[in-house]
Amino acid sequence: MIEPHGGTLINKALPQSEKKRILNEIHEFNKIPVNIQKWKEIKNLSFGIFSPLGGFMNENDVINVLEHMYLESDVAWPIPIVLDVSKEEVANLKEDDSIILTDMKDNPIALLNIESIYNYDKNYFAEKIFGTIDISHPGVKKIKEQKEYLIGGEVFLINELNSPFPNLDLKPLETRVLFKAKKWDRVVAFQTRNPPHLGHEYIQKASLTFNDGLFINPVIGRKKQGDFLDEVIIESYKTLIKNYFPKNRVVMSIFETEMRYAGPKEAIFHAIARKNYGCDHIIIGRDHAGVGNFYKPYDAHEIFKNFPDLGIEPLFFRSFSKCAICDSVVNDKICPHPPDKHVFFSGTDIRDILLSGKKPTPDIMRPEVAEVILKYQNPFC
């Protein structure tokens, strides 16, 4: 099985005894509240999804990531994972302090050993990550809303966030045991934030043909307005798997993180997380993690050339359509027929059809999947 990114699967969940000791002494620690998005990142840091990271990035790692897309240790990493704090919050803190990160109701989440406290230029961050400082980009907007300081340091999980889908929330250690038990030597990951249409099913099945197992790993968490609700994505995939996939070849589990819409850099980030889950291939489609017209359709393919040492192999797919003459789902590499013979899978068109309360035709979406989506009065965020 593929080794975790950086060589070691990180585990920062505190053992019960240590957790008890810290909770007994909790009044001695300074506390900083964090929102639910940060709590999810703490979970990902703690259970190895972000291996080799075991905490929020220090300044040197941030600089290396922004400038070169590598950590200071020369391990590929495309996007900073940081904890932003206000001037007031850092006023009583210094390096080498240990603090407790809490939820908004003062419940402890994690212990953080502070290694560095530093300020940063938001425009520089945005430009380096997203290639723009345009506030209409949701990632840029989020950076502009961040607090003015960053804290770096190791985290140790005290309390895990309740999962929205507890029966579909496997950690990398668990997926690795699962893939081994299923005797899957080659596992291909599919990243998604949409219910499946026939184009998705086509690339999943094409990829599965050359692998032992398919790991469907929907991103669950904050997305932008107009994206599908998490439960719609999960229920529609359950239906697709039940009706159209062999049970012993597919596993679905969620990935709780927010979409950053960083296009090509996020494609690398998604690949690293799936490598940590134990996947050695990842499907990268057209405009992966893109938004608006900020990235070219195949930027997320091109960027992989710069990471020969990533470990996980990308499987690149272009756009798909249903060809009336071939009577199957095709792409531009395998079908000679003109565009007027094709029905194209457009996310926007499918959204519009569903918004009008109609069922997309079977040429575009499986009827069972469409029925699941239409059960929701409003399937969108």
């Binding site: 975790p4 070169h68 668990e174 690795r176 045991v177 699962l178 020969p308 040492d309 470990g311």
Partner: protein, 79 residues
Amino acid sequence: MDIAEKKTDYENILIPNPLAEKLKNIMKDTGFSSISNYISSILRQFISAKDGEKNLKQAFSKEEEESIKQRLINLGYLE
């Protein structure tokens, strides 16, 4: 100092000019913007291949594996 003003550390490595010229020709259509980036990429590929030759350590013990398997059975992932 602001984070954007800081620089990362580098090591200077000298290679013969004819070799540098050959690399420049090879890298023309690769998308790399500098010979330094290109050489770094080649070296990372080499190191990655060497690392891959090492025996991989199992990420979990036998006991952990059995306990996780039971949880996976309870969740319906395994029969």
